[in-house]
Amino acid sequence: MSKEIVKLDDVCVCYGAIRALQGVSLSVEEGAIVALIGSNGAGKTTLLNALSGLVPVQSGHIFLRGEEITNEKPHIIAQRRIAHVPEGRKIFSELTVEENLRIGAYTQYKNKAKIEQLLHMNFELFPILAERRKQMGGSLSGGEQQMLAIARGLMSEPDIILLDEPSLGIAPIMVEHIFEFIRQINASGKTIILVEQNANLALETASYVYVLETGRIVNENTSDVLIHDDTIQKVYLGL
């Protein structure tokens, strides 16, 4: 058994009268790729946002390496080696590619040499970004922006990366590339929590999968088991 790195315990989140998360508990082991699947509005993004402090949690607890981080400010959580690559990429379109990456290393400002090293590493991982480094973030294609968003996340040297629908609105060939990168990043020892609407892709990539429906976890298991699950096949894989 490896170590538990992220844990949610009975977490509830409301937006006014809308109950987006209703008592969600989950656990992520260090070094794993864990996927969250579920239809539109199930609460996947809300779960990641609660984890990174973007939305307030009404009740329940969130732990990072055993320490409680429930309702901490986003910048405090970001300093704890966790990077959130948000839904819709949220590239700073009026900054250049390189500036976007440097922003990602904002918490590393004391170590200039480290920043250069991380920049170099990311340009090697994503050569297309090196080519476009002086271009404005907003001028990149969707797939390039997704790579930039992931690279920006990596610039903070995280142990844990939250990825919210990295395949959204991106050409299939580019999606393949991006998921190849995700596996590569995971192979380098980083834990990944992946939100993905494409259940096929999620089951292929992750070792463990949680199924979210209207704010509740309705099913969870290793991907090998879930891929043969009847309801999963019917509802999410369309078989």
């Binding site: 959130h84 948000p86 700073f92 918490t107 903070s156």
Partner: protein, 292 residues
Amino acid sequence: MTMFFQQLVNGITQGGLYALLAIAYSLVYGVMGLVNFSTGSIYMLGAMSSWLVCKYIIESFWLSVLISFGVGFVVAFVLEKIAFSAIRGATRIASLICTIGFSQFINEAVALIFGKATQGMSTFFDQELFAFLGVHISVMQAVLVVTVIIILVALQFFVYRTRIGLAIRTVSMDEKTAGLMGINVNRTISIAFSLSGACAAIAGLMGAVYYRSFSAYMGWMPGIKSFSAAVFGGLSSMPGAILGGYLMGIIENFGVQVFSTGYRDVISFIVMIVFLLVRPQGILGSKKKVKL
């Protein structure tokens, strides 16, 4: 020709003052998406502190600059902490009314303490720097112009070349994502707000020196004029605010020349309204909708 250059010189002097105030609007608008209508009152407080310094301590221009900067910074800091953090997230119109209320409160408090009458201010650098073909430039004008330029250059450096400046720009673009990058959003807003106050207060000191007077209500006109200037230049753009401020000063002084002094305040607004009908996002502003 002589008149042309004389008005140009006067316009640039006054425009610098508007530019500082316009920057004060644009800094706050950038990070909070809020038009801070108490900017004019902070301008007045800057003038007041320099007036007090010259009256009770020592007649020194440079000490006044320092003190105004400090007062503006601290007042804005406190204002943001007690008033604006509380209303952050409130509806836009409620926040807007709040800033107007604060402005009123500050003006009336000062009027209660020092009276409503206009007070005389010490004169600085009264000598003529040079006169050429009938164009007169005083040392005071030169000092004001140069000081504004130094401050503007320093601000540009701060915003575009430092880490805190980067945080300010990032929060202006997308507050939530800025937080995910590890940027302390609240602190960044607080710094930008305080800096905006410092700019407004220094503009106030310059107003007091330029017009040789101080009064509790002196912030009103420059306040709305430079707000217009900021919109004119493109509210969300700092270079735009600077450009808008200078253009406002220059247009106003030429207007006075062509028409008469009585129309001073009307002319600049007419020019601005006509311009905004043609280009609503301002000179350098982006196409994004300006939200009030």
